[in-house]
């Protein structure tokens, strides 16, 4: 990539949020802000490019590699561009007991993509995730902060149609 790093910058509102986050920790412990700040970055750019990670490293006064090693360890950070809505589908046992695998098959067919894929219109990216701590309300998937619970084929159709409008 040849894009100059200084083209990457938080919006003023987000920069304020980031500074508030950094101020939560004791002096010299600003690295603690890394995970929350990466969430803020992902909110702005949708995914974490190396330019964004380098920018975050600069803000937190840490080495870029310290950001890369964290961003690649945790599953919530997207390291490639994603669609407008990222569907994070729970594939773990308790959801499967509630018919999660059948509903997942239906969802994949409906979107015409497999795990990791993005629809041609760029609206949906599908990700498989592990247990979301919502087992009593399974099957579940999550889109950003929203949980969609007790899923059925019909509910999935409705959700996809609503989000496609």
């Amino acid at each position: 990539m040849t894009e100059s790093p200084n083209l990457v910058a938080f919006t003023p509102e987000r920069l304020e949020t980031v500074n508030e986050i950094i101020a939560r920790y004791p002096e010299g412990r600003q690295k603690s802000a890394l995970l929350p700040v990466l969430h803020v970055a992902q909110e702005q750019w949708g995914w974490l490019s190396s330019e964004v990670m380098d920018y975050v490293a600069g803000i937190l006064k840490i080495e870029p590699v310290e950001v890369y090693e964290v961003a690649t360890f945790y599953t919530m950070y997207h390291l490639d561009p994603v669609g407008k809505h990222v569907i994070e589908y729970c594939r773990t046992g308790p959801c499967c007991l509630m018919g999660g695998e059948d509903v997942y098959g239906h969802l994949k067919k409906k979107l015409g993509i497999e795990a990791g894929g993005t629809t041609a219109d760029g609206l949906f990216t599908l990700k498989e995730v592990e247990c979301l701590a919502a087992c009593g309300w399974g099957p579940v998937f999550q889109i950003r902060e929203q949980f969609y619970m007790n899923l059925t084929n019909e509910k999935v159709d409705q959700i996809i149609e609503d989000l496609s409008k």
Partner: protein
């Protein structure tokens, strides 16, 4: 109706707000602790209560507090573990989103007891909406003088920070959580030193589960002795059970420790029984990592006694015939469930979540997943069963943190109690891989 300590007011409309929570008697325990008690007296009540770590380990909380080092001039930290990620467990999620002030009140009391002036609630990042609920509640409590500088005019200061994770089961392990809170990968630390001596930022730190801390307001209001009178023996108080799977009423239930498994499973107050027209085949009582038991062994111990929802009764018989209360993730399987498929699923989970630091876990979880995948998909050989047992034994006890054990136990226990089902998959691959096929054999259903 059983006594409720944590969920008594959970369905009161508006309980997530400071005003409604306060009207239900909220924050009186903070007033009592900070205005009339010393930190040592608060610790003493926690010890008397006998409350044990509700995240899964079951270690007495008061004793854990007692280990906290208190060197002069070094800050001490309380960190609440809200990284709830053990499959089958969703009680902390339910508690925090429904009644956030209960945890905050517990955090204030506990921080006061430990002499912490900055405390953290580490919430798994997927629960960002819960983080926002907690942050709103914290702002309310601060505006009312229950947080911040000079709380209730006592001279005690406390700042409460909510920290999001990034998606990693391993961060439920307390030292991995501390690494993550320091902005690093969630690799568990070698112990000793334990967090009580060198924890967050190398300072003395206590890490406690959401539910454990949420008991503190009741314990302060009613006394540790009153808490200890609830329950049976060393299983004192109440426990939140996350019930999922093939039952009539999945959800989170608060039980008095000591209720029988049968009552919890079948009474209308709790799970309401197995879904209509079906029978109990197997049960995981304490989250995916604890040994799975067949129907007959979960209802009665090997000695024929009623199995109770207590730390002791569930582990009666050791791993040969017993299991663990763990996190209280109660996953119910009826006769339509395939044990091989479920074991493969859990195995994939642990492989995915292994941090990769220790070879037995990093490699072993991958091997187990692969072998289980081929058995489930009709390509297994009889040798694979012994191979799985062998791998599980070589992981168990050979890793820095308990994730290795957590990965080994579900596999070892599934083979221990459901070996016939594995054999059937291997010897009847065509039948076993047909859509919806499940081994029926002659296993005992209840």
């Amino acid at each position: 109706m059983a006594r409720k300590i944590l969920t008594e007011h959970i369905n009161v409309p508006g309980i997530e707000t400071f005003d409604v929570y306060r009207k239900q008697g909220g924050y009186t325990a903070v007033e009592k602790a900070i205005k009339t008690m010393t930190p040592e007296e608060v610790v003493e009540e926690a010890k008397k209560s006998g409350v044990r770590g509700r995240g899964g380990a079951g270690f007495p909380m008061g004793m854990k507090w007692g280990f906290l080092a208190k060197p002069e001039g070094v800050p001490r930290y309380l960190v609440c573990n809200a990284d709830e990620s053990e499959p089958g467990t969703f009680k902390d999620h339910h508690l925090m989103k429904s009644i956030p002030h209960l945890l905050i009140e517990g955090m204030i009391i506990s921080s006061f007891a430990l002499g912490a002036n900055k405390s953290f609630i580490y919430v798994r990042g997927e629960l960002m909406y819960v983080i926002r609920i907690l942050e709103k509640a914290i702002a309310e409590a601060k505006a009312q003088g229950f947080l911040g500088k000079n709380i209730l005019g006592s001279g005690y200061d406390l700042e409460l920070v909510v920290q999001p994770g990034g998606g990693a089961y391993i961060c439920g392990e307390e030292t991995a959580l501390l690494e993550s809170l320091e902005g690093k990968r969630g690799n568990p630390r070698n112990k000793p030193p334990f967090p009580a001596v060198k924890g967050l930022y190398q300072s003395p730190t206590v890490v406690n589960n959401v539910e454990s801390i949420s008991n503190m307001p009741w314990i302060i209001n009613n006394g540790g002795d009153a808490y200890a009178q609830i329950g049976i023996g060393r299983s004192t108080g109440t426990k939140l059970i996350s019930a999922s799977g093939h039952i009539q009423k999945p959800g989170v239930y608060e039980i008095e420790l000591g209720v029988s498994v049968e009552e919890f499973l079948n009474s209308d107050e709790y799970c309401g029984g197995i879904r209509k027209g079906h029978h109990l085949k197997a049960l995981v009582a304490g989250g995916s990592s604890v040994p799975i038991l067949p129907a007959n062994l979960i209802m009665k111990t090997a000695n024929g006694e009623d199995r109770l929802m207590t730390y002791e009764s569930l582990s009666d018989g050791g791993f040969a015939t017993g299991t663990m209360l763990g996190s209280g993730g109660f996953i119910v399987f009826d006769e339509t469930a395939c044990i091989v498929r479920n074991t493969w699923n859990f195995s994939r989970f642990y492989h995915h979540e292994s941090c990769g630091q220790c070879s037995p876990c990093r490699e072993g979880t991958g091997w187990m997943e692969k072998v289980l995948h081929r058995i489930e998909h009709g390509h297994g050989s009889m040798h694979d069963i012994d191979l799985l047992v062998d791998i599980s034994k070589k992981i168990e006890g050979n890793t820095i943190c308990p994730l290795g054990d957590a990965a080994a136990w579900p596999v070892a226990s599934a083979i221990r109690h459901f070996r016939d089902e594995f054999v059937w998959h291997i010897t009847n691959p065509q039948e076993a891989t047909a859509p919806g096929a499940v081994y029926m054999g002659d296993m005992a259903l209840v």
